[in-house]
């Protein structure tokens, strides 16, 4: 009971999970795919696992799904070991670029997955219909998957991941292969899942998706965790700078004296300057009777933060031992 309470709020607890493959003809050369990873994801979060291609995101997900065995470390999901079938009944997983039994229809495939997940027979056909509706494929129940486009397969993949009403949904590159409308729909779906109290753990290298959706993100590169935190914290104001925008194309001479970095675009001027010079800059604009459009603190984008987190690692000799 105590152990249950300890983990009740922790959806995923990764404790030093590590993976090294043996490569080469004699398999004597170790290649580290994931350095010891410590990570905790709370229930109800949308958690983004970010990193460039080959960073170790899929390896981590495969270890959590029990598809690849860790070299060291362990992980617990909903307080249970990763090979515990009771835990697997409570999670859903969308692999990267999913491929399904293409001789089946969408209805047959989802029914099969429902059987394997222990969905009761009486509820199965209703759940299959509901989940196909939910991912925007209401009319494909009887269509064989070999006739599906890549985007439709991705939607079926999401459908099979949420079919059995799991508490945690793991999605590996869920936006892959989707058009802008599809991406929007998947984003909406992920937000709905969050509102239903589910935990969403998804990997991506599309940072705008992560920025729009995630409560927290982790950045991984070359198998090493570089950063974890709330998106708002990671993208907080940088060096106390503000951005001031006004109408017109005139730049008061005093602005340059204040150290403002000014750019004219059409009939607006954008200036970036230190927060401490804000009042003096506003006074200068008022003196010149220029109409102020906006004044906002400069925040770094998640993309800028991400790039900054990856750059130092390029000097490192890499993870290949």
């Amino acid at each position: 009971m105590e152990a249950f309470q300890l983990y009740a709020m922790t959806a995923i607890d990764i404790l030093g999970l590590e993976k090294t493959y043996s490569v080469g003809f004699w398999r004597k050369t170790p290649r580290c795919a994931l350095k010891p990873l410590h990570l905790r994801v709370e229930e109800g979060e949308i958690f983004g696992f970010l990193g460039p291609n080959g960073a170790g995101k899929t390896t981590t997900l495969k270890m959590l799904m029990g598809l690849v065995y860790p070299t060291a470390g362990s992980a617990r999901i909903l307080g249970m070991e990763i090979n515990d079938p009771r835990m697997k009944a409570q999670i859903g997983f969308l692999p990267e670029q999913p491929y399904f039994y293409d001789y089946l229809t969408a209805g047959e495939l989802l029914n099969y997955y429902g059987q394997l997940s222990g969905v009761p027979p009486k509820e199965r056909s209703r759940k299959v219909r509901e989940v196909l509706d939910r991912v925007g494929l209401p009319d494909v129940m009887q269509v064989q998957l070999r006739k599906f486009s890549k985007g439709m397969l991705q939607r079926v993949g999401i459908a099979q991941a949420i079919l059995h009403d799991p508490r945690i949904v793991f999605l590996d590159e869920p936006m892959s292969g989707l058009d802008p409308m599809g991406r929007r729909e998947v984003r909406d779906l992920m937000e709905q899942l969050k509102h239903e109290g589910k935990t969403v753990f998804f990997s991506t290298h599309i940072l705008s998706d992560a920025e729009a959706l995630c409560d927290r993100v982790a950045i991984i590169h070359l198998g090493e965790l570089r950063s974890v935190g709330a998106v708002a914290d990671l993208t907080s104001s940088v060096e106390g700078k503000i951005e001031l925008v006004w109408h017109g194309n005139k730049i008061p001479s005093s602005m340059k004296a204040l150290g403002a970095d000014c750019h004219v675009t059409g009939d607006t001027v954008r200036a970036v300057l230190l927060e401490g010079n804000q009042d003096a800059a506003l006074e200068a604009l008022r003196r010149e009777q220029l109409r102020i459009i906006s004044l906002i603190p400069v925040r770094t984008s998640l993309e800028e933060y991400f790039v900054r987190k990856l750059q130092p690692s390029k000097a490192v000799a890499g993870v290949t031992k």
């Binding site: 495969k62 598809l67 079938p85 692999p95 089946l104 394997l116 099979q160």
Partner: protein, 258 residues
């Protein structure tokens, strides 16, 4: 059998049917009808012997070819196409997946063999216009052929867990050919001495003894099959297939699905 094993077996059976595996029955039907008509014209008094020999040999070969060509891809294809990921991330144990796949293909082969056996009986009826009591032995021969399928399916599945489809096919075919001559191999071992005898005897007992499971010629000559042989062959096939399946499970349990 747990529910999940039954679901996996049923899906494997459905895959084989949708991949038009049972189309081989058409080729078999053509072969049997052609043979029956031809035999009726050119042979006198041995029509039944020829039809039983030809029919049961075809049942065996068609099934073995299907067992090997589907069996070698049962696991490796699922890994290559990554269809396995969405199965094993559910409450499905790896051993359940292997056992389910085995029963699915074995079920396909049994259905296939039963349809072909029906074809043999139809051809027999065509050439001799009536059934006789000894025709019942044909069913024993078909049963032994099905036992062969269980062994070869388990071996193909075993190879599929660690090897490429091409190598698995080579291994499985080689074992089938060597196993067909297992009695000869045992005879050869008896003629040798020293370490060669030791190795030959070991190899003779390691390869599946398909020759003991082949009673086609006896049945065609209307010789009865001993009840003792039925029991020992059943036990042998079940033990051999179970051991091969255990090997497949042991390997697959340790495998990283990269």
């Amino acid at each position: 059998m747990s529910g999940r094993i039954a679901y996996i077996a049923s899906n494997t059976f459905r895959e084989a049917v949708r991949d038009r595996v049972l189309y081989n029955l058409i080729a078999f039907a053509l072969l049997m009808s052609g043979a029956a008509v031809l035999v009726g014209q050119i042979s006198i008094g041995i029509e039944r012997l020829v039809v039983i020999n030809l029919g049961l040999t075809a049942v065996s070969l068609f099934g073995i070819v299907i067992a090997i060509f589907i069996g070698i891809g049962l696991v490796s294809k699922e890994i290559d196409k990554r269809t396995l990921y969405t199965v094993l991330s559910r409450p499905v144990q790896r051993w359940e997946f292997i056992v389910g796949k085995f029963f699915g293909l074995a079920g396909t082969l049994v259905v296939n063999a039963l349809f072909m056996a029906l074809g043999v009986f139809v051809a027999l009826l065509y050439v001799s216009h009536h059934f006789q009591a000894t025709d019942g032995w044909v069913l024993i021969a078909v049963y032994f052929i099905i036992l062969q399928f269980l062994i070869i399916t388990s071996l193909a599945l075993l190879f599929s867990t660690f090897s490429s489809p091409l190598l698995s096919a080579v291994f499985a075919f080689s074992l089938f050919v060597i196993g067909t001559f297992a009695e000869d191999l045992r005879g050869f071992a008896g003629l040798t001495k020293g370490i060669v005898r030791w190795l030959a005897t070991g190899a003779a007992y390691l390869v599946p003894n398909f020759s003991a499971l082949n009673v086609i010629s006896s049945v065609a000559h209307e010789q009865p099959v001993a009840g003792q042989l039925i029991l020992s062959n059943t036990a042998y096939a079940l033990v051999y297939a179970s051991m091969a399946l255990c090997g497949a499970v042991l390997i697959f349990e340790r495998r990283n699905l990269k």
